[in-house]
C-alpha cells in the first residue's frame, strides 16, 4: 500500500470512529464499542512487550489494578482529579514494573509467564488483606458527581467513548513510533532469539526493562478509565486474572507483534462475546470463555500468526494469481 492510501484509510477510519456515537444511540451498543476500544488499548499495551519482545506476561492485571487504585485513592482521600490520578497511576505502575521485572526476567519462557501470574495474584492478595489503605475485599463505590468532566465523570456514555478512543490512539501512536525506532528492531530481535540478540550487542535486560515500563504505564491508564466508567473498585475487579488473559488473547488472535493485531483480535472476540450475550441472555460467563479458548486453540494450531497473518497470506496469494495471469 502506498503512503497516501494508508493516510486516506486512517482518515476514513478516524471519521467513522468519531461519528459512531453520533449515529448509534443505543446504550448497549455504545457499551460494546467502549469495551472493544478499552480491550484493544490494553491489548496494544500488552503487545508492546508480549508481542514484539515475546515476553509473554499473564500478569498485566497488576498494572491495571495499580492504576485503578492509585487514581481512586487520590480521588476519594485527597480529592485529586482522576485525570491527574491517571498519570500518577501510570507512574506508580511504571515504578512497580521495575522490581517486578527484576524478579520475573530472571526466568525465561513459560516460567517468566508463571512469575508474572504470581506477582499479579500476590498484589491482589495484598489489596484484599490490607483494608486500612484500600477498603479491603468490599471495595468502594466512586462518588457520583453527575456531569463532571474535570473529574472524569460524564453523563453521556459517548463521552467515555471519546476518552477511551483517545487512549487507543495514544497506544497505537506509541507502538507505531517504537516499531520504526531502533528499540523496535531490538525488541523483535529479542523476541526472535534473546541469546543471539545479546551476542550482536543488544542490551536485552535494559530493553526488556524499558518496554515493560512503557507497557505497565499504558495498562495503568486503562485501569483508571475502567474504574471511572463503572464507578466501583475492589481487588477482584481491579486485579482480575481475566484482564491479564484478555490482554494476551486479543493480541494472539489478532496477530502477535503487529500494530493492528490487538485491535482486530478484540473486535472479533468482543463481537463474539456480545452476540453470545444477546442469544443466551445474561449468565454466559462459562460460554464466553469456552468460545474464547476454542478460538485461541484454533489460532495456535492452524494460524499462529493470527488473523493478520491469515489476511496477509490470502492477499499475497491473490496478488500472486493476478501476477501469474498478467
Amino acid at each position: 500500500m502506498t503512503h497516501a492510501r494508508t493516510l486516506l484509510g486512517l482518515a476514513v477510519g478516524a471519521a467513522v470512529l468519531i461519528a459512531l456515537p453520533l449515529v448509534v444511540k443505543s446504550s448497549f451498543a455504545i457499551d460494546i464499542f467502549i469495551r472493544i476500544l478499552l480491550f484493544s488499548f490494553i491489548g496494544v499495551a500488552w503487545n508492546l512487550m508480549g508481542g514484539y519482545a515475546k515476553q509473554l506476561s499473564l500478569g498485566h492485571a497488576a498494572y491495571f489494578g495499580l492504576g485503578a487504585y492509585t487514581s481512586t485513592i487520590l480521588q476519594i482521600d485527597f480529592n485529586i482529579s482522576p485525570w491527574i490520578g491517571m498519570i500518577a497511576g501510570g507512574v506508580v505502575a511504571a515504578l512497580a514494573s521495575l522490581p517486578i521485572g527484576w524478579l520475573c526476567f530472571r526466568l525465561r519462557g513459560p516460567y517468566f509467564t508463571i512469575a508474572t501470574i504470581a506477582t499479579a495474584q500476590a498484589l491482589m492478595l495484598i489489596f484484599l488483606k490490607f483494608r486500612d489503605f484500600a477498603w479491603g475485599a468490599e471495595g468502594t463505590t466512586i462518588p457520583n458527581l453527575g456531569n463532571a468532566p474535570l473529574m472524569m465523570q460524564f453523563e453521556a456514555k459517548a463521552d467515555y467513548y471519546y476518552v477511551v478512543l483517545g487512549l487507543l490512539v495514544l497506544g497505537l501512536a506509541i507502538t507505531w513510533l517504537i516499531e520504526r525506532s531502533w528499540m523496535g528492531y531490538y525488541l523483535v530481535a529479542i523476541g526472535e532469539d534473546e541469546d543471539a540478540a545479546e551476542a550482536i550487542g543488544v542490551n536485552a535486560p535494559k530493553i526488556k526493562r524499558d518496554i515493560y515500563l512503557i507497557s505497565a504505564f499504558l495498562t495503568a491508564l486503562a485501569g483508571t478509565f475502567y474504574t471511572q466508567y463503572i464507578y466501583f473498585i475492589d481487588p477482584a475487579t481491579a486485579f482480575n486474572f481475566n484482564i491479564s488473559i484478555e490482554a494476551a488473547l486479543v493480541s494472539i488472535v489478532g496477530g502477535i507483534g503487529t500494530l493492528w493485531g490487538p485491535v482486530i483480535g478484540t473486535v472479533l472476540l468482543e463481537t463474539t462475546s456480545a452476540l453470545l450475550q444477546s442469544w443466551l441472555g445474561g449468565s454466559v460467563g462459562g460460554v464466553q470463555l469456552t468460545v474464547y479458548s476454542l478460538i485461541l486453540m484454533a489460532v495456535i494450531l492452524w494460524r499462529p500468526t493470527g488473523l493478520i497473518g491469515l489476511a496477509r497470506e490470502t492477499w499475497q496469494r491473490h496478488v500472486g494469481r493476478k501476477a501469474a495471469r498478467a
Partner: protein, 288 residues
C-alpha cells in the same frame, strides 16, 4: 505452643503430599517434553468430578475410584500429547504456553457449564475419623491421601530408575537429540510422560475427594502450587518437586496458623518471589 506448631506442620505435610502428586506431573512434563502444562490443575479437577460421580452414582469409595481415574487420565494424556501438544513442539514459546493455557480455560469453563459452580462433596465413613496422638490430631482421610501419594511417587521413582521405558524418559529429559540417536522414540516417550503426569493429577483428585470440595475453579490453586514447587525444586527435577511440595504445604499451613486464614497463598507467593530474588535456579540445579 509446640503442639500448635507440630499440628500445623502435620496438616501441611499431609496436604503437601497431594501438591507433590500435581507438581511431580508438571516437572515430569517439563523435564521430558520441555513444555509447561498450565492445565495440570484442571486434570485434578476432572479426577475429582469422576470420583464424585462414581461415589454418588455407584457408591464407589473415592480412594478405590483411583483405579478408574488414573487409567482414564493416562489415556487422556496420551491423546492430548498426540493430537495437540505434538503439533506445537518447536523453538517458539508462544504456541506451547498458550495451547495448554487454552486447554485449561476450556476445561474449566466446560466444567462450569456442565456441573455449575456448586461445591460437590463426598462423605465417606472415614471422612470425620481421626487419630489422636498426644495432643495431635491426624484426620484419617488426609493420612490415606498422603500415604497413597507418597506410594505413587515411590512407584514412579522406581519406574524412572529401573525400567527401560523409565530410563528412556530420563535420557530424553537429559538430551533429546542423543536419546533419539540411541534409538529412543521421542514421540512414544512424550506420550507416556503426559499419560503418567495426568494419571498422577487424576490420582490427586480422587485422593482429595473424601475431605475436599470439587468445583470448576478448584484446579487453579493446585496449578499455582505446582508451579511454585517446580521452580523451587529446580525445573524438571522429580525429587526436588516432591520435597518443595512438602515444604510448601508446611509453609502454607504455618501461614494459615500464624498470619490468618486467607494468607496461606501469600506465604507461598512470598516463597516464590524470595526464591526468584535470591536463588533463581531453585534449591539445586540450574534454571533454563
Amino acid at each position: 505452643m509446640w503442639e500448635t506448631v507440630a499440628q500445623a506442620v502435620i496438616n501441611g505435610l499431609l496436604i503437601g503430599g497431594i501438591y507433590a502428586l500435581v507438581s511431580i506431573g508438571v516437572t515430569l512434563i517439563f523435564g521430558v517434553v520441555k513444555i509447561v502444562n498450565f492445565a495440570q490443575g484442571e486434570f485434578v479437577m476432572i479426577g475429582m468430578y469422576i470420583s464424585f460421580f462414581l461415589a454418588t452414582q455407584f457408591g464407589i469409595d473415592p480412594v478405590i475410584s483411583l483405579l478408574v481415574t488414573m487409567p482414564t487420565l493416562f489415556v487422556a494424556g496420551v491423546l492430548i500429547q498426540h493430537f495437540l501438544i505434538r503439533r506445537v513442539l518447536g523453538p517458539n514459546d508462544m504456541p506451547q504456553i498458550f495451547l495448554t493455557f487454552a486447554l485449561s480455560l476450556l476445561l474449566l469453563n466446560l466444567a462450569l457449564l456442565l456441573f455449575t459452580a456448586n461445591y460437590r462433596t463426598v462423605h465417606t465413613s472415614y471422612s470425620d475419623e481421626a487419630f489422636h496422638i498426644g495432643g495431635l490430631y491426624i484426620p484419617v482421610a488426609k493420612l490415606i491421601a498422603f500415604v497413597v501419594a507418597m506410594g505413587l511417587s515411590a512407584v514412579l521413582w522406581v519406574f524412572l530408575h529401573t525400567t527401560d521405558l523409565g530410563k528412556a524418559m530420563r535420557a530424553a529429559a537429559q538430551n533429546r537429540d542423543v536419546a533419539t540417536l540411541m534409538g529412543i522414540n521421542p514421540d512414544r516417550v512424550f506420550c507416556v510422560a503426559l499419560g503418567i503426569a495426568l494419571a498422577l493429577a487424576g490420582a490427586a483428585g480422587s485422593l482429595l475427594m473424601p475431605f475436599y470440595s470439587a468445583y470448576p475453579l478448584v484446579g487453579q490453586v493446585f496449578t499455582l502450587m505446582a508451579f511454585v514447587a517446580v521452580v523451587l525444586g529446580s525445573l524438571g527435577n522429580v525429587m526436588g518437586a516432591l520435597i518443595a511440595s512438602l515444604m510448601m504445604g508446611v509453609a502454607e499451613s504455618l501461614g494459615i496458623q500464624y498470619i490468618g486464614a486467607d494468607s496461606g497463598l501469600i506465604v507461598v507467593f512470598a516463597m516464590l518471589l524470595l526464591t526468584l530474588a535470591f536463588k533463581p535456579t531453585g534449591l539445586g540445579g540450574r534454571a533454563r
